[in-house]
Symmetry: C2
Subunit: 84 residues, 2 copies
């Protein structure tokens, strides 16, 4: 695995796991009123397009991180709707 | 400009402007207690590495979107610290 792929995987791991503390915080506080709904929808649309971009570019870090990140944000959105 | 670059720029624009409503919401409500501090720090570290990854890959959409996104998240972090 070349340096570029490793760099991308580390970058992708960071921007992806970043949403784990947000998920935990939302689940624990049962509140996400300070988390913008418009942000979540716009962000998830963008993540989906990055996912397609990664497939075209055949760049594993882009495919993996955006796929998993999209999944995490779906959970945050679901928690936000659940606890509103 | 080829299709791939356009796709990447649209994806990057979405994941970047997604943070504008979050910035506005935080500024308006003067509260970001539901926004995880650990998320912001981890996310910003990842964005910085994506930025470097984009430079290596010479992929303009990756460089631009992560650079601007990093700047927006710095403002959200500053607002969170200011309003805690």
């Amino acid at each position: 695995m070349d340096f570029l792929t490793v760099l991308g995987l580390v970058a992708g791991t960071l921007t992806t796991i970043a949403f784990l503390p947000q998920m935990y915080k939302t689940w624990q506080s049962k509140s996400a009123k300070d988390v913008s709904f418009v942000m979540l929808i716009t962000f998830m649309s963008g993540l989906f397009l990055w996912f397609i971009y990664g497939i075209y570019l055949q760049a594993l870090p882009i495919i993996l991180s955006n796929g998993v990140c999209l999944f995490f944000n779906m959970i945050i959105l679901w928690l936000k709707i659940k606890y509103r």
